[in-house]
Structure formats: structure tokens, C-alpha cells
């Protein structure tokens, strides 16, 4: 078990997502930055489908009630084991009663904690990913006990750290494809879309990222149709909604762009105030 002594800003259990159930209106969910979640699992020798903990900006305080191994990947939130700093992207032995805590954010937005064998929390509709109305808990609460496997195998000589390319934490340019309704924008509107530097707004979360700038447009709402994580919707007031992993399955705003998988991962590591441009790779 892992006990939650103190919660962070927003901690959830996530895996690669919930598939095949979107026809019931169920969101995909899954780790916002799937790349970092996969790195954490792979470094431990886990399957990439194991559940990890997604930790956003301010980390929780966790107490391990059995021996295991962990890897932290994604954002560097100054992780500490029993108050001593530990390395990111490195296999670390954790003993019974050890406490994992976090400090200041060095880079990124979301850290991923993988444990050997994966978190064994509630499994609903083929996924461990927490989501309101699907799983009992939609985020960690103080006092929660997260089930994990005890693991006493020796790490051996696994002292190496994986080096992650810094570019993964750079959001300057987001690669996009033209969206289904892109052609309904005027030439000028299309130009504005690719020349504007957008600023990530405070109203960004697992459902959607938003930006402070608006794009004037005259396109009509569409008949409600299908959307995916990465779909960029344009509202009548000119707001851009960049849909993320917990987005609805359908929507009625024009879909002007589709962010690439790789860029969704990078966008998930950005925090409000950061700036980016869209680059068309169609």
C-alpha cells in the first residue's frame, strides 16, 4: 500500500486511457503526457499499460507501506525520499515507511510516479484512469490507501538515469494538422491562427487547455460531431479550446486544428503564462 499523507494540487491515477467505450459518451482519459508516463513504466520494466500517478505542479506526500521500486518521470517537482533529494528518470529502491514528498517546480507541469507492477486501484471499463462518474474517486484524497505490490528483488547495478531531451519540455511550437472545418476560415483568419503567439490561460485543465488571445471568426457552429484529444475548437466568441485527455466525445464548435500526439504530450507539460505558436505539418 501507499498512503496519502497529504494531497497535492491535483493527483490522479492514470494509465494509457479508456478505449472502445466512447460510444457511451465516456472520455478517453489517460496520462496527459503519455510519453513521460511510458518512460516511467518502461524504466521500471513495467508494461506501458500499468497505472501511474499523475502529479500536477504541487506534489503530494506519500508513505510507502511496503518495499518496492519507483521511477519518477515528466516534470521535475524536486522529489525527495525521506527529505533527501532523489533523481528523476532513475530506478529508486523504496523501503517500508519511506516518505516521498515534493518541493519547488523546476520544469514541466506533470510528474509521473511509476511503481513496480503498477498501482492496483479501481479498474473500470478497461482502465485505471480516474474520472468523475466512472471511478469512485476522481482524484487522490488525504488518507487514501493505494494498493501496490511488495517487491524485494534487488535492483542490482541499475544506477543509470535516462536522459530526456529538453525539447520535450519546450512548448514554443505545437505541430498541428488542419482540422475538419479549417477550410471554413477565411485566408486572413488562417494567417492570424498561424502567426499569433498564444498564451496559455489559467483555465487549463485535463479537459481542455485555453489561451488568452481570441481569433475573430464568422463560422457557424456545426451539427454536433465527434472530437478527440488534440482537437482545437473555435467558439463563436473566438476562444480556442484545445481539447485534452478528459475531453467530451462530441462537440458542436468548428474543429479548426488537430494537435499532433507528440505535441499534446508537450502541451501537457506547460503551465499558464507560457507562449506558443501553431505550426501546420499537413
Amino acid at each position: 500500500m501507499v498512503e496519502v499523507l497529504k494531497t497535492g494540487f491535483y493527483d490522479t491515477v492514470q494509465d494509457i486511457g479508456r478505449f472502445g467505450v466512447q460510444e457511451y459518451g465516456v472520455p478517453c482519459s489517460g496520462a496527459m503526457d503519455l510519453y513521460s508516463a511510458k518512460v516511467a513504466n518502461t524504466a521500471l520494466g513495467n508494461s506501458i499499460t500499468e497505472a501511474v500517478l499523475e502529479i500536477m505542479i504541487i506534489g503530494p506526500k506519500l508513505k510507502f507501506q511496503c518495499t518496492t521500486e519507483i521511477v519518477l518521470s515528466g516534470a521535475d517537482l524536486s522529489p525527495k525520499l525521506n527529505s533527501k533529494p532523489i533523481k528523476m528518470n532513475t530506478r529508486i529502491r523504496v523501503l517500508k515507511n519511506d516518505e516521498l514528498s515534493f518541493g519547488l517546480r523546476n520544469y514541466g507541469c506533470r510528474a509521473y510516479l511509476a511503481v513496480k507492477g503498477g498501482f492496483q486501484t479501481e479498474f473500470v471499463m478497461n482502465s485505471y484512469s480516474m474520472y468523475k462518474t466512472i471511478t469512485k474517486n476522481s482524484k487522490l484524497k488525504k488518507g487514501d490507501q493505494l494498493s501496490i505490490f511488495e517487491n524485494n528483488d534487488s535492483i542490482g547495478n541499475a544506477f543509470a538515469s535516462l536522459r530526456i531531451d529538453n525539447k520535450h519540455f519546450n512548448v514554443n511550437v505545437l505541430d498541428v494538422f488542419k482540422g475538419i472545418e479549417f477550410g471554413r476560415l477565411s485566408c486572413l483568419e488562417q494567417q492570424v491562427l498561424f502567426s499569433t503567439e498564444f498564451t496559455i490561460s489559467k483555465d487549463s485543465n485535463r479537459m481542455a487547455y485555453q489561451v488568452n488571445e481570441t481569433v475573430d471568426n464568422k463560422i457557424e457552429p456545426i451539427i454536433t460531431s465527434l472530437v478527440l484529444p488534440g482537437t482545437v475548437q473555435l467558439t463563436p466568441s473566438g476562444k480556442l479550446l484545445i481539447l485534452m485527455r478528459d475531453c467530451q466525445t462530441t462537440g458542436g464548435y468548428p474543429r479548426i486544428l488537430q494537435v499532433s500526439e507528440e505535441s499534446i504530450n508537450r502541451l501537457s507539460q506547460s503551465v499558464f503564462g507560457e507562449k506558443f505558436r501553431f505550426k501546420c505539418i499537413d
Binding site: 459518451g25 462518474t133 466512472i134 475538419i180 451539427i223 460531431s225 465527434l226 478527440l228 466525445t249 462530441t250
Partner: protein, 244 residues
């Protein structure tokens, strides 16, 4: 079978969107569902999942699509050779709804604006047989076609932060049921005691695209009784098979 003019679009690295003409129409819905069932029956190994809305199908593949145009041709061939599968049985559901003042918090306003009495609104709302076009927006939220024009009513300017589970509502030209507590921009006119989404069931929603439903007005006492029966798992929701 009439062939519609479809358009094929690459949607993301791993998905393709097929679109029918941009209108809400039951013949389009039928064709969308026939094509969806046909694709599912073909058991194409590279396809992970197929999902539908009013006039589109989203096909998600397991791997990144190498050549979208060769997938488009394969889909076109599948469309022109589609066969209607009679195995997908469509059903009609009678949904109990309590329009009592305790739940129908916006009924007075709609009555005032539309000049229809509350009982007329309830009668019009519960007389129609609605078609389920698809499920979206929230887990278990049915997109229903068929609302009587006389009940078209704009969404609220400021959405409510929370409405009750089972709230029955009208928003613009649509009516629907909130399957769980949720923020809501539509006008609430009643409440259904049924469970519209249960993540523990193999079929989490009883209704599916193509089914029809009708609202049956019930008293508040009946609402309480059904709610208890639903919670105890002793409520038997009846349905009849309709000819698709």
C-alpha cells in the same frame, strides 16, 4: 439502399472521419448505423474503434495511418458493399418522468414565455416519440431527435453549476436527460428516476443509437417508488422491439 455522398477526412494520426451531408435526418442516422455495424462485422484488424454522431463516423486505428488514401479507398469499398444487418435489434423505451414543481424549476419561465400552460407543455413533451441519435457530451447522455417546435427554448445565459441526476431539460431545439449531477445550461422541466449510465455493466447504457424513447409523466410518489426500486435493482424497465 440509397447511397449518400460521403466525404473522407484524415482527423488525426490514427483516425479518419467519414461525413454524411450536414443535416439531422433519420435516414442519414440509419445509413450511419448500417455502415458502422458493417465495419464492426468486417472485423478489420487494424481498426481499434468506430464511433458515430448525427452525420459522421470516426474510425480510430490501432497504429498511425501510413497512407490515408489507401484507407479511404478501403472504407469506400466497404461503404458501397455494406449490407444491412438485421441482428442489431432496435428497441423502444418508456421513460418515467416526474414533472412535479419540486423538479421542474424552469417550467414556469417556459410557460410564461411560450404562453403554453404547464400541463400543455408536459403533454407536448411526453407525446412525442424521440429517436436516439447517439450518446455524447457526458457518459450516458442521449442525443434525442424529435422535440416539438413549440417547445424550442434558448439555453440559459448563465449555466447552473449543478443540476440533479436525472434532470430532464430543454436547450434550444433539443431535449435530454442529465445522467448524473452536472453543470447544465439547459432549462430543467422534470426528473427521471432511472439510471442512464452504469460503468459496472457490460452495456453501461440501456438505450443505443437508433432506439426510440417516450417520456411517461409520473407523480412524485411514483418517482420515489421507482427511484427506490432502481437503487435496489428491482426495477424492471420494459422495452419493445421496433422494426429498424
Amino acid at each position: 439502399m440509397k447511397d449518400f455522398k460521403l466525404t473522407y477526412h484524415r482527423f488525426s494520426e490514427r483516425s479518419i472521419l467519414v461525413q454524411w451531408p450536414q443535416e439531422i435526418d433519420e435516414n442519414i442516422l440509419k445509413d450511419v448505423l448500417i455502415f458502422k455495424n458493417h465495419l464492426t462485422n468486417l472485423n478489420i484488424e487494424s481498426i481499434l474503434h468506430v464511433n458515430t454522431a448525427y452525420n459522421s463516423i470516426l474510425i480510430t486505428y490501432i497504429l498511425t495511418i501510413d497512407n490515408a488514401y489507401s484507407e479511404f479507398s478501403a472504407l469506400k469499398e466497404a461503404y458501397f458493399t455494406r449490407i444491412s444487418n438485421k441482428k442489431s435489434v432496435l428497441k423502444h423505451w418508456n421513460i418515467p418522468v416526474c414533472y412535479d414543481d419540486e423538479f421542474s424549476i424552469d417550467l414556469n419561465e417556459i410557460s410564461k414565455e411560450t404562453q403554453f400552460s404547464k400541463s400543455e407543455i408536459i403533454r407536448i413533451h411526453s407525446e412525442v416519440i424521440y429517436t436516439v441519435f447517439f450518446i455524447g457530451f457526458l457518459p450516458g447522455f442521449l442525443y434525442l431527435g424529435g422535440l416539438d417546435k413549440r417547445l424550442f427554448f434558448p439555453r440559459k445565459n448563465i449555466p447552473r453549476l449543478e443540476v440533479k441526476k436525472g434532470a430532464v431539460a430543454i436547450g434550444n431545439q433539443q431535449t435530454g436527460i442529465y445522467p448524473n449531477k452536472s453543470p447544465a445550461g439547459w432549462n430543467i422541466i422534470g426528473n427521471s428516476p432511472l439510471e442512464f449510465f452504469n460503468s459496472k455493466e457490460i452495456s453501461p447504457c440501456f438505450a443505443k443509437a437508433g432506439d426510440t424513447i417516450q417520456f411517461v409523466p409520473i407523480t412524485i410518489e411514483e418517482h420515489n417508488r421507482v427511484l427506490k426500486a432502481v437503487e435496489n435493482g428491482t426495477y424492471n424497465l420494459e422495452s419493445e422491439i421496433i422494426d429498424g
